[in-house]
Every structure is written in structure tokens, then in C-alpha cells.
């Protein structure tokens, strides 16, 4: 009889613990997901979504082709002031880091070829510039402010997201951080 009771008590304990744990886990998970939600699709540490865009010279750039090397992925617009200021620094660092395995890829958001070309000429930009005509890459990365820069490491993961203008020194530091070892 008392053995029977002990069994029952253990079963009750188990069932109650299980129910409370499952409920608590579901609730805590929901709260954490909601509170930490940044509205971002891609966050630091995630794999950078692959994409394929064509540059001004007709070369197709596929992000995953750069696996094993770093990619300095910069989203920009010709009308955006900070973009204009940081682009010359990017150009300088591009020349220095291209052979060290860090590539610059500048994604313009849906502007006209003419405008992008004249901008590149004005600032003497030689790194590849691609235009995201349909916004599909912008949506895949959920870009809001311009400029936004994603540092993609050799492993294809997003190392850092920068949502503001960068100085030359910062760009150098960022590029060093994604240099293949």
C-alpha cells in the first residue's frame, strides 16, 4: 500500500514537473525571441545570404565564390552623404587589401547605371560596384539606413554589421578582421 503510494507520488511529481517545465520553456523562449528581435533578417554570426549581381563591367559576382576570403560588403547610394565621404577611404583600402584576400563589393540600391557610373568616375572608384535593381538583395539583408556594411569572414559568416559612416582607420581595422589567415 505505501509502496503503491510512493509510486503514485513519484509519478505525480514527474508529470507536474514535466508540465511546468514545458510550459515555462515555451514562455521563456517566446519572450526571449520577442525581446531580442531586432527586426533584422541577418544578424552578426549568421551565414551571409548568398546573392548574384552583375557589376558595371558585366562581371557576375556571387558572394559564395569568395568563400575562403573576406568580403567587405557595402550597401550605398549616390545621394547619401556619408557614402560619398567613406568611398574614397574604401578605395584606398581596397588597393591595399585586395591582394591580401579581402574583397570590396559595393551594392548600389536600385539607381540608374548612368548615375552610378558618373559617381564612380567622379570618385575614381575601381572596386566592383553592382546595382541591386529589384531590391531583392536589399530585402535579403533587410537594409534600412545607408550606408550599411557587412563584414563577411572567410567562413561566409557575418562578422560585423556597421550602420554608420566609417573612417579610413576603421575600414583598415575591419578589413584586417576578415583577412584570411
Amino acid at each position: 500500500m505505501s509502496q503503491d503510494r510512493e509510486k503514485k507520488r513519484k509519478k505525480r511529481m514527474f508529470v507536474r514537473t514535466a508540465i511546468l517545465v514545458v510550459l515555462a520553456a515555451a514562455i521563456i523562449y517566446t519572450i526571449v525571441v520577442n525581446v531580442t528581435a531586432t527586426g533584422e533578417i541577418v544578424e552578426e554570426g549568421d551565414m551571409a545570404p548568398d546573392f548574384m549581381l552583375t557589376d558595371m563591367d558585366g562581371n557576375v559576382h556571387k558572394l559564395s565564390d569568395y568563400r575562403g576570403e573576406g568580403v567587405f560588403l557595402n550597401f550605398w547610394g549616390t545621394w547619401c552623404g556619408p557614402c560619398k565621404r567613406e568611398m574614397p577611404h574604401m578605395e584606398d583600402m581596397y588597393k591595399e587589401f585586395e591582394e591580401k584576400g579581402v574583397h570590396v563589393l559595393a551594392v548600389n540600391i536600385a539607381e540608374s547605371d548612368l548615375k552610378v557610373k558618373s559617381f564612380a568616375n567622379t570618385y575614381g572608384l575601381t572596386f566592383p560596384i553592382v546595382i541591386d535593381k529589384t531590391n531583392s538583395v536589399r530585402d535579403a539583408y533587410n537594409i534600412r539606413p545607408l550606408p550599411t556594411t557587412f563584414l563577411v569572414g572567410p567562413d561566409g559568416k557575418v562578422k560585423k554589421i556597421i550602420k554608420q559612416e566609417m573612417t579610413g582607420d576603421q575600414i583598415r581595422e575591419y578589413m584586417e578582421s576578415i583577412m584570411p589567415s
Binding site: R16, I27, G77, S118, R138, D139
Partner: protein, 552 residues
Amino acid sequence: MSSIKCECGHVNPEGTDICQNCGRPLSKEEKEKRLADMRYDGAAIRSMTHKRSIVDKVWNFFSSVKIGVSIIIAILVAAAIGTFLPQVFYVPAANEAQAAQYYEEHYGTFGKIYNALGLSDLYGSWWFMALIGLLGISLVVVSLDRGIPLYKSLKNQRVARHPSFMKRQRLFGEGEVSDPDAAMAKAKQKLMESRYRIREEDGAILAEKGRWSRWGPYVNHVGLIIFLLGVMLRALPGFYVDESMWIREGETLAVKGAPGLFVENKGFSYEVYNKENTDEVFGEAIDRVGTVASKYQTDVALYEQPEDALPGSTEKEFVKDYSIVVNKPLKYEGYSIFQMDFKLDELKSMTFALQNKKDEKSKGELTINLANPEKEYDLGNGSKVQVLDYYPDFNGFEDGEPQSATPVPNNPAFLFKMFTPEKPEGETSFVAIRQTLEPLGENQYRMAFQSAETRNVSGLTIRKDKTLPIIALGGLIFLIGVAQGSYFNHRRFWIRKADDGRLLVAGHTNKNWVALKRELDKATEFAGLPAYHDQRDPEEEIEDHTEGESKA
């Protein structure tokens, strides 16, 4: 854990009020009551019986209806306070810092505290979600703790109950009857006509109907829990999308929030009711406000990328054409694309003539697509115009450089180089609306504005909600539970012969005693059962006693 052994020999779990076998009162409180407490048929509420471990303590906390009601009140109060100031999504702020500044500037210290406590984003604040979660736990625990013992008690109930049980029912009668067996047979017949299920045992009858209505509150709770589960799923990726986008006529853009889908805007139309095309219906309104919109429509073509295509790839397949109007969204793969907003008459193209300034003779015209200007326009006969640079939204000069505020052609300006047979080396001219500069000296030719074409911009909203079927199911089950518990009653009669040959009759229902009495009246009259009386206290008469599940 101890148990209670009844006089009849049945062993009941601790906390039982009424013996689950014969119906004798067991607890001290129950014995003192004039009428039996039939709320859970006298079964022990589980949590009340074990108070040992921390798990049991937590369990007991949530098992309390008082706690459940307190949580509901807390939620209601929080939701009410959440309406004091505008929620954060109605506030012009792009980020948290701006929102905090807005609340402090507009509503002072109260606003600052309001925002800091998360009341400005109530449904997004962790403590509000926690309250909802606690309510969920309370619903589960309360239901299990009461529903299971009630179910067991009703399932195992015996037919013959002890006279002390019957005497303590609200409807009770006893008396001599000339032929008890015949009376019971007739009563049984009559009650069967009223669709009672009859069980017989040792000269006792239990007539019962509508037991399932007792499960109403629990069905109701299951519905609520499914509802909450649906709401919870919204937070997970892939379940819920609510985005919006602008698309100009002629553009093909990725559908925001729906990777792999593209829409092409083939034309936006905006129609109004006016005096000519409308009968009297809108007459007054048109007189008052001028125009009344009759239609907003975007004609679109939908495209989809192949499964393995990457963002940015131009590969896509035509899916269908559709005209999106208000309340008739384009539906595809769980997404609904709604007509939401519009902007009329954005500049699309501008036409210029290459003109000699003196005699205004033209060398020809060119039309510039403002979304995609050509580099060079050849006018023939040795004349051509190059577009050196383009400023879609010209807003002045900075260090001598023309600037564009946005990429939208609100105020287009161009840097032209004009080549003519007279000036084969070219003349440079900066042309903005109502402004022409000749930075490199006096020109012979100019670009004379001729005309402009416009296009409309359509605002679309993209929605997907996979949780809706779950939420709807929860709501439906909730309503079924409400109906089950409200419109149906659980009615029981006990009839038995006492040792001295007299007949005992008792009746119970969880609600609607009038109907119960009517049915007992019919049986009493037909079978000649002893007269019964209602044992409820006269002062209780006023409130219609129904058995909820408020046993804290």
C-alpha cells in the same frame, strides 16, 4: 499522503468532501453543511492534497482560481494603462533612443516612466508577455487539477447513494408508497422519455443527462490555450509577415518579406465619383468635398524565381497577372498583397529641345527616362547631347558640386554636353527646373524644356499569417466550450428504497433548477413518487445559484 476511509469501506483520497462510493459526507466542513457541496461532486481538488515539494508548491500556486483571476485583472489593468499614451508604432521615431526622447519631450516625466516601463510597447514588453504566459500556465494547471478529479468522480459514480447524501441534496423527497417497485418502474419510464440515461442497482435508480456539459469550462480552456499558442507562434520566423513597399508604374521589384517573388507594376488607376458618372447616392458628399474615390487599382504581373535561384539573379518565371483593388489582394503561396496607398504623378520622363538661343530653331528633341537616363542622345545631322551627370532630386550646390537629396526624381537636374555642327567641341550646360547655368562660358545652344510625363506610385502591403488557422481553431473551440457549459445542464436524479420500505428521491443540476423541477414534477405525478421540496435557504432564493468552478 493520508487517505480517508468511509463507513461504507471505500478509501477516498485526502481532501475528498463526499465519499466517492456512497455519498456520505467525509470532511468536517462538509458534515456541517445542510446541503452537499456538489461543485466537483465532492472530489478532492488535486492540488489541495499534496503540499510537499517545491514543485507541488508551484503547482498549487497556479491551481488557485484566485491567482488566475488576479493574473487576468493584472493583464486588463496593464492593457488599460497602455491606452493612456500613444503606442510606440504611432510615434514618429526611427529607433529606441528617439522614441524615449519623444515620450519625455511630449509627456514629461510621466512619459519617461511610461516608456521605461515598456508601457509604450505593451505587447512587446517582456513582463506583459510573461503575464500572458502565467495565465497560460494557470489555465492548464487549474483545468487539470479540477477536470481530472471531476471526470473520474462522475465516471465512477455509484447508483445507490447513502440516505445521508440524498437528504443533503437540494431537491429531496421521502415518503411511503404503496408499491415502491411499480413506482420506480414508472419513474424510470417517464425519465427515459425525457432522454435520461438510467442505471439501476439493488433497488436504486440513477437517472442522468447532459454530463458532457460539465466539460464546457475545460473545453473552453483548451480553446484559450490553442489561441495563446497561435499568438506565440507569431514571434517565430516564417509564421508572420507584415511589410509594405512602394512600386512605380513600369518597375519590377522583389516583393518585400516574400523572398523569391517579384511584382511588376503594369499601371495604377485611381478613379473618383463625380457629378457626371454618379447618381444621387454620393451627390451630397461630392458637393461638399469635391471628389469621392471609387477605385484604387494596381495591375500587376507576379513572377517567381526558381527554387535554387539566388537573390539578385534575373531568372524568373511569370506566374500570373492580377488587378489588386482594395479588399481584393493578390494571393499566392500564403502571401496576400494588398492595395494600401498611392502617390500620383511622380515625374517619369522629360522632353527637351536642343535649341539655338538666338533664333530658337531646334536641332531636334530628346526624351530622358528619369529612372534610367541614356548616356548619349543622337539627334542626327551632326547633333548629339551627352548626359554627363544627373541629379534626380537637386537641392543646391556644395563646394560647387550639385547635390541630390534623394534618388527620387522630385526635382531633376542635368549636366549636359551639347554637340552641334557649329560647336563640334561641345558646350556644357547645367539644367534644372527653371534654372540654367553655363559653367564654362556663354553657350550658343540650350536645352529647352518641352514637356514632362508622369507616372503613379502604388503602395502595397504584404501579409502572411500562418497562425490565423490556429487562432481561429482556438476561438472556435473556446466558443464550443462556452455553448457546452452554458446552454446544456447536467441533471441527475437518485431514487432508492430505504430499509423501512419508504422511497427516497433526490435531484441535482449544475444550473437551471426550474427545468429540473419541471422534469421531476412530471415523473412524480406519473409514478406517484413522494412529494419533494426545495431545501435551499429562502434568502438564497434571489440569486440563481449556478456552479461555476470557483473553488480557490
